[in-house]
């Protein structure tokens, strides 16, 4: 049995996620869209905290909410063209997209609910991983060690940095 606070928190977060997701893709103002995305990301971070993954939640807020959304906003402002924002999406495109998305959701939902037993699992008690442990795991080569992906991601990031420099360089 969960604590009531947890449950209320869950409903609030779920509501925020659902509403803001819908708003993100339906609003015509792209800056608003970025803002709604920020709310969604925050809400997700809250779920991570709720799941006892505080580090992950922190990363989510720092990287996503703090980094990516800011990048989006910059990009939006840089490419801002007055009068182009409010362009209407024509209805066939919208309907087609909606149908496709709904079909996808329906298919997945059907899957979800047909495995309701499995999905109805309760939250079990778990060890809350400290940041120190996470750091050790990241840099270890033992079981549950993630050194290789870590290095791979670092190389990727390096490539992205170089790519970014190359792209941004004035010709």
């Amino acid at each position: 049995m969960e604590s009531l606070g947890n449950i209320i928190l869950y409903f609030v977060v779920a509501l925020v996620i659902i509403v803001c997701s819908v708003l993100t893709v339906t609003t015509r103002q792209i800056l608003r869209s970025a803002t709604y995305l920020l709310f969604v990301l925050f809400a997700t971070a809250i779920i991570y905290f709720q799941m006892d993954y505080p580090f992950l939640g922190a990363v989510q807020i720092a990287v996503y909410a703090g980094g990516i959304v800011v990048l989006f906003v910059f990009a939006i402002l840089l490419t801002h063209q007055p009068g182009k924002d409010a362009q209407r999406i024509d209805s066939t495109r919208r309907i087609l997209g909606a149908v496709a998305a709904l079909l996808g959701v329906a298919a997945c939902g059907f899957g979800l609910f047909s495995y309701a037993n499995f999905c109805g699992r309760q939250l079990a008690e778990a060890h809350s991983w400290s940041i120190e442990e996470i750091g050790k795991f990241l840099l270890s080569t033992d079981k549950f060690g993630y050194l290789l992906p870590f290095e791979a991601v670092s190389v990727l990031l390096l490539a992205c940095i170089i790519g970014g420099v190359v792209i941004a360089r004035r010709r």
């Binding site: 079909l103 298919a107 059907f110």
Partner: protein
């Protein structure tokens, strides 16, 4: 003289061809000409030596045990082995007709070589351009023709048939910058080539069934002379195989005759010969009057025993020959171009020879030949000999006239007797000889031909006599038109005159030969089985034929000696007939239609279009279809990420659906 010297007779012209052809360019023009003449002179002397040794000498295997004059093979190496048995050999064989041909070819060729020194020069005695080429080709032709007559097997004859054809092509097209000459040479080659195709087929069939090309297996008997028994057994090896109701050997022999007919300008393959007159006149004398055109006759004579056995083929030859003789004579009567008239006269005379060969038939016992015991064969060969001499004479005279007046047309000549007396006399001798007036050469040979024809049937005899009369008429028509008719009007600064000695000497020599050649002991030497024929003059036939000839001459005299209205009146009266004969009964137009309209436009063009359009088009279509398909597929790769997502989504949903269905079932 050893008979093996024949090799030299063949080899010298071949050497001269290469020598003059390759080294001649570096030498002076006159020098090459005289070198050619000297080479030919040596060849002629050797050829005479060899031929006379063959005819009159003994001890070199000329005479078989039974006294027949047999074929002597002096040289016969393998050249190309098709199979173990079927081998083409390049040999040299002397028999009566080969020896006789050696004399004919070298004599005429010698005269032409000498004559050309003068003819191929302009009025100042400067040699024409291409002199070296001319003499090289003459040597090549002489070589080919000599190789043809001494052939030991059918295939060798075919090979040299081709060679003389090419030499003839090259010489007709000697003035290669004149379109008419090029056209004529092309026509000559292609028509004879068509005939050679049949010759080849004939050889293929005959060699397949008899298993050999060699004459000593096909026609020569144990005594080395023509033998009907051997021919009979050669034919019987075919085992009575038939095709379309006729025996295969009859087909083969007919095809071979067609090959000969092409070279010998028998109707309907005669059309190339008149056009061939575009070549230099000495060439016409050598190739298209005396030697190459009788190759067909020679061929039939070579296979004479086979033809005698296969009477079907023989009948065809007879009919073709008789018709051609008349047909060509009729056309010759109206031609205005001196060389063409002579060309048709040649066709007619060769047809005489053919007919004469073809009137023979064998009795059941194969011992003797009907038709005066092979008289036709002898007469034909004899006529070949005499005709070569007087026709060469006539052509060389014509050359002298053309050289003097620079025209081929009768209308530019007229009344030349005063200007060119030697030429005039020489031409007259030639005309008398061809008309068959005794004692000139033509009388003796033509008389025997007529006798042979009468012995086949009275109708054949009358027909041929009539043609003989026409011969006399048209020859004297030409003679009178050129040398008399009316006074000559001198147009150019040079009055026509007898030509330099190099051109006149051959006329005199040939004129003398034309007078005396008739007394050659042909019956003794040219019997079909190598034996003496013991003929004597049939005065009934001879008398009539002389009478007919005189009538012809008289008619020509009446019409053409003095300028008068009669020819024009007759022409107007029978204008249709005259026009048809003048246009050679439209045979050329017919051929033109067949080659250009039917073959060129009707077959070649559509095939070429089919090739470009359908076949090539198909492959291009294949390529285009592949390209189109590629373009079509490329449309899917449109770069719009959203459509990719749609496609992806559809795929994913489909997969999900499939999974679900599978799970449910």
């Amino acid at each position: 003289m050893p008979l093996s010297y024949t090799i030299a007779v063949i080899a010298i012209p071949l050497f001269m061809f290469f020598f003059l052809g390759l080294a001649g360019v570096k030498m002076g023009r006159k020098l090459t000409g005289w070198l050619g003449v000297i080479g030919m002179l040596i060849t002629t002397i050797l050829a005479y030596g060899v031929a006379l040794t063959y005819f009159f000498g003994t001890g070199q295997g000329q005479l078989a045990a039974d006294g027949a004059r047999q074929a002597v093979v002096v040289f016969n190496p393998d050249w190309l082995s098709f199979t173990k048995e079927l081998v083409v050999r390049m040999g040299i064989m002397l028999d009566p007709i080969a020896a006789m041909m050696l004399i004919v070819i070298t004599t005429v060729s010698m005269m032409v070589h000498l004559y050309s020194i003068g003819y191929m020069s302009d009025h100042h005695g400067h040699a024409e351009k291409g002199y070296q080429r001319y003499y090289a080709f003459l040597a090549l032709f002489t070589f080919s023709m000599l190789g043809l007559v001494v052939a030991t097997n059918l295939f060798q004859i075919f090979i040299f048939f081709e060679m003389v054809g090419v030499s003839s092509y090259l010489l007709i097209g000697f003035y290669y910058q004149s379109p008419a000459a090029v056209h004529a040479s092309k026509k000559a080659f292609i028509v004879t080539r068509l005939a050679d195709l049949f010759f080849l087929l004939g050889i293929l069939i005959l060699s397949y069934y008899t298993g050999t090309f060699d004459f000593d297996k096909l026609v020569f008997g144990a005594n080395g002379a023509n033998s009907l028994e051997v021919a009979q057994s050669a034919i019987s090896t075919a085992g009575g195989a038939t095709f379309l109701g006729c025996s295969v050997t009859a087909w083969a022999l007919t095809f071979i005759f067609i090959g000969g007919a092409g070279k010998s300008a028998m109707y309907p393959l005669h059309i190339w010969l008149p056009d061939a007159m575009e070549g230099p006149t000495p060439v016409s004398a050598l190739i298209h009057a005396a030697t190459m055109v009788v190759a067909g006759v020679f061929l039939v004579a070579r296979l004479f025993p086979l033809y005698v056995i296969e009477q079907g083929a023989m009948e065809i030859i007879c009919v073709v020959g008789a018709f051609t003789a008349f047909y060509a004579a009729a056309i010759a009567c109206v031609q205005s171009d001196i060389k063409r008239a002579l060309a048709f006269s040649t066709i007619s005379q060769i047809a005489f020879m053919m007919t004469s060969l073809a009137v023979s038939s064998a009795d059941g016992g194969l011992i003797e030949i009907h038709g005066g015991h092979g008289l036709g064969y002898m007469a034909s060969m004899f006529h070949l000999f005499t005709h070569a001499m007087f026709k060469a004479l006539l052509f060389l005279c014509a050359g002298a006239i053309i050289h003097a007046v620079h025209s081929n047309e009768n209308s530019d000549m007229h009344g030349l007797h005063k200007f060119m007396p030697i030429t005039s006399f020489a031409f007259l001798i030639g005309c008398l000889a061809i008309a068959g007036i005794p004692p000139f050469a033509g009388f003796w040979s033509k008389d025997e031909i007529l006798v042979a024809c009468y012995s086949k049937g009275i109708g054949w005899g009358i027909w041929m006599s009539m043609v003989a009369g026409m011969t006399a008429f048209y020859m004297f028509r030409i003679y009178f038109l050129i040398f008399h008719w009316k006074k000559h009007e001198v147009h150019t600064e040079h009055a026509p005159a007898d030509q330099p000695w190099t051109m006149t000497l051959p006329l005199i020599i040939l004129g003398l030969i034309s007078i005396i050649a008739g007394f050659a002991p042909a019956a003794k030497l040219l019997g079909w089985d190598g034996k003496d024929l013991h003929t004597q003059l049939n005065w009934t036939v001879a008398g009539t034929s002389v009478l007919i000839a005189c009538v012809g001459i008289g008619l020509a005299f009446k019409m053409y000696y003095k300028e008068n209205e009669l020819p024009d009146k007759l022409q107007a009266r029978f204008s249709g007939l005259w026009e048809a004969a003048y246009r050679r009964f439209y045979m050329d137009e017919l051929y033109q239609f067949i080659t250009h309209k039917v073959i060129f436009q009707g077959i070649c063009k559509p095939i070429a279009m089919f090739d470009r359009g359908i076949i090539d088009g198909f492959f291009n279509l294949l390529a285009a279809a592949t390209g189109r398909a590629a373009y079509g597929i490329r449309r899917l790769q449109n770069g719009s990420i959203q459509s990719y997502v749609y496609v992806y989504l559809v795929g994913a949903l489909a997969l999900a659906l499939v999974t679900m269905v599978c799970v449910l079932i």
